[in-house]
């Protein structure tokens, strides 16, 4: 562990913010106040934060329908996101996108995406833009395609991986394998492949695997990955083995889970618990300061929800705005 105290605190705060953001949405959605479909990222926080901790705003990410974690990890505003999910005109996307369509180009967040597998080609395009701009002092800017084990079966993802290899674009395909594509198990849906990384290797790119519930494993892997890509080594893939604490969407009865499965992964595979245990055991942070951080995060989420409830609602005239820049 080579991380500074500040970096550790930041990482924990980021993961805890995602966790509490999602846990709170899980509660609020049941009141019926939030419209539409919501897919929660709970359980996968170490991946988003462990990846994005290495990125600057000129590095771009493309996310998925399960995108809250990626948005928050890439720096999107908590309150702006909460307002968006509440459908306010003060939301990050003025209430036009909602949970599945949050983007903030200024932060290098090119967009969550409601279509599984649609993001990978877009990330390749962003990487080709970086390639055209050429390397800066720290090497090439990179583009990251977050995909799940569901998207790894989409033809678009295959096309994107091949195009990235053909053009040697600085693109990183991050596969978050949470073992479920919607309601179907990984062992069924991914055919003959034992893992996603080896499938990526077949496209001619380097690939890594790591435990996605261990923040330090993610962080260390990504350090290596980014050194390779920024230096012009071409596209790579990384598969993180992780867990989804909630259903595919909010309201999913999760009848596909095994007995005690949710309790087991909450107990053994919770990246926050593992982080706390690791840093306290190593004497890097103590429980009291982590508890203080927890309180700060809960307060921030409470404030964001209050702000979202009070925020201005969009009007019928807003329907017509922002289809085109000029028409």
């Amino acid at each position: 562990m080579q991380l500074s105290r500040e970096a550790l605190l930041n990482a924990y705060r980021a993961m805890k913010t995602i966790r509490e953001f999602e846990e709170r949405l899980h509660v609020e959605i049941q009141t019926g106040e939030i419209a539409g479909f919501t897919h929660l990222y709970c359980g996968q926080e170490a991946v988003a934060v462990g990846v994005c901790a290495h990125l600057g705003t000129q590095d771009r990410i493309v996310s998925t329908h399960r995108g809250h974690g990626h948005c928050l990890a890439k720096g999107c505003d908590v309150e702006g996101m909460m307002k968006e999910i509440w459908g306010s005109r003060e939301g990050l996307c003025k209430g036009k996108g909602g949970s599945m369509h949050i983007a903030d180009a200024d932060k290098g967040m090119l967009g969550a995406n409601g279509i599984v597998g649609a993001g990978a080609p877009i990330a390749v395009g962003a990487a080709l833009a970086s390639r055209a701009d050429g390397p800066g002092p720290d090497g090439l800017n990179v583009a990251i395609a977050f995909s799940g084990d569901g998207a790894c079966n989409q033809g678009t993802t295959f096309e994107a991986m091949n195009l990235a290899v053909v053009t040697q674009a600085p693109c990183i395909f991050v596969f978050e394998n949470n073992h479920y594509s919607e309601h179907t198990g990984f062992s069924y849906a991914v055919g003959t492949a034992q893992d996603i990384a080896s499938r990526a290797q077949a496209f001619g790119m380097k690939a890594w695997r790591a435990d996605g519930t261990d923040f330090f494993a993610v962080h260390d892997t990504m350090r290596e990955v980014l050194a390779h890509v920024r230096a012009g080594g071409g596209p790579v893939a990384v598969e993180f083995d992780t867990e989804r604490f909630f259903g595919h969407f909010e309201g999913d009865p999760q009848r596909y889970r095994g007995p005690g499965e949710l309790d087991r992964i909450r107990a053994e595979r919770d990246c926050l618990k593992r982080f706390r245990a690791a840093v306290t055991a190593a004497g890097l942070l103590d429980h009291a300061e982590i508890d203080t951080l927890d309180t700060e995060v809960l307060d921030a989420i409470e404030a964001a929800v209050a702000a979202a409830r009070a925020a201005a609602r969009p009007t019928a005239e807003d329907v017509l705005a922002d289809v085109y820049i000029s028409y």
Binding site: R60, G91, P121, A123, Y324
Partner: protein
């Protein structure tokens, strides 16, 4: 003015805009042509000759030859555009939107709106469309009726080399996504093109190519020439036709159509796409709603039938609109009792 072919107007405009703006990049299947072969890069130079020489001049980071992966091409164009570039992507045949529709429809068209006006996606997607070469059902289609119906896209259908020049330059400099439809059968046609390096034609401004007080004929692309020929024949009998070239189907120059129909009271829409739920149906509904009191006869459409495009020469020519079919439609609206 310089006389040039439609295809050369495409190529020269891309060349000029790439030279002017380093953010303009080109990508597509075989836009370089010959990559990975004994012939080497530029062995082909694009099957339509609309990208010949770009690779030699601007190199591989700005002229990206892709595998046959339409979703990846359009997706990459989206990513490039969201990242500040001005990609000009080529779909070799417009029919191939079938394999990349998600990227056009759910992605590029919707970014700006979904993301609350926060993003800019200045992508141009060029496609060769249209029948006339016996290329049968999967390589001859006119897809504008599908794309025009998608909010967020602009759809351009130039009919002349000058319009290619003016409209493609506008498309590349436009900050919204633009579908640029080039008719295969027009590539080898020639016309005078203005030399002004900033010659641009704004979108949504139709062109009146024939003026007459009796019937309004609206069309685009290849069929425009047939409409003009029919109008010229009818003029010899004293029948005057307004022939309107829409130039862009989105945005639509509604006013040009309504202004004309208010004078003539008779409308014929000539379109290369099948008749149902298409441009011809749309424009006739527009006129029925907004110029009903001016109408002297039911608005007619001249389109292919509700069938796929057939292969054999006799079948394809029976399928397509023709000068005779347009002339017949004019006579039918005039004969309305």
């Amino acid at each position: 003015m310089t006389k040039m072919m439609y295809r050369d107007a495409v190529l020269s405009t891309i060349m000029e805009e790439m030279a002017r703006d380093p953010d303009v990049v080109v990508l597509g299947e075989d836009v370089v042509g010959g990559m990975g072969t004994a012939g080497g890069p530029e062995a082909i130079g694009g099957i339509w000759s609309t990208s010949t020489g770009l690779y030699d001049r601007f190199g591989p980071t700005r002229v990206i030859d892709t595998p046959i992966s339409e979703s990846a091409i359009i997706g990459a164009a989206a990513g490039l555009a969201l990242s500040g570039k001005r990609p000009v992507a080529e779909l070799m045949f417009a029919d191939f939107i079938g394999v990349c529709l998600d990227q056009l429809w759910n992605q590029i068209a919707k970014f700006r709106y979904m993301f609350g006006g926060k993003t800019r996606c200045p992508a141009v997607i060029r496609m060769a469309y249209g029948a006339g070469f016996n290329a049968a059902a999967q390589h001859s289609q006119s897809v504008h009726q599908i794309l025009t119906g998608m909010p967020g896209l602009k759809v351009v259908m130039p009919a002349t080399p000058a319009d290619v020049k003016g409209l493609l330059r506008t498309a590349i400099r436009d900050d919204d996504p633009v579908i640029f439809l080039e008719h295969k059968a027009l590539y080898a046609t020639s016309g005078e093109v203005p030399d002004d390096p900033d010659f641009m034609i704004p979108f949504g401004h139709a062109r009146l190519t024939r003026a007459g007080g009796d019937v309004t004929i609206v069309s685009t692309g290849l069929l425009l020439g047939m409409c003009e020929a029919a109008a010229d024949r009818l003029a010899a009998e004293g029948i005057g036709c307004d022939v309107i070239d829409l130039r862009t189907t989105s945005p639509l120059d509604e006013e040009a159509i309504l202004d004309s129909v208010e004078v003539t009271g008779r409308l014929i829409v000539v379109d290369e796409a099948p008749p149902r739920c298409g441009l011809a149906a749309d424009l006739r509904a527009l006129v029925a709603e907004k110029a009903f009191s001016s109408l002297k006869a039911p608005p007619l459409q001249v389109t292919p039938p509700h069938t796929p495009i057939p292969f054999a020469r006799e079948l394809e020519s029976a399928y397509l609109p023709s000068i005779d079919k347009i002339e017949d439609a004019v006579r039918r609206v005039l004969a309305w009792r």
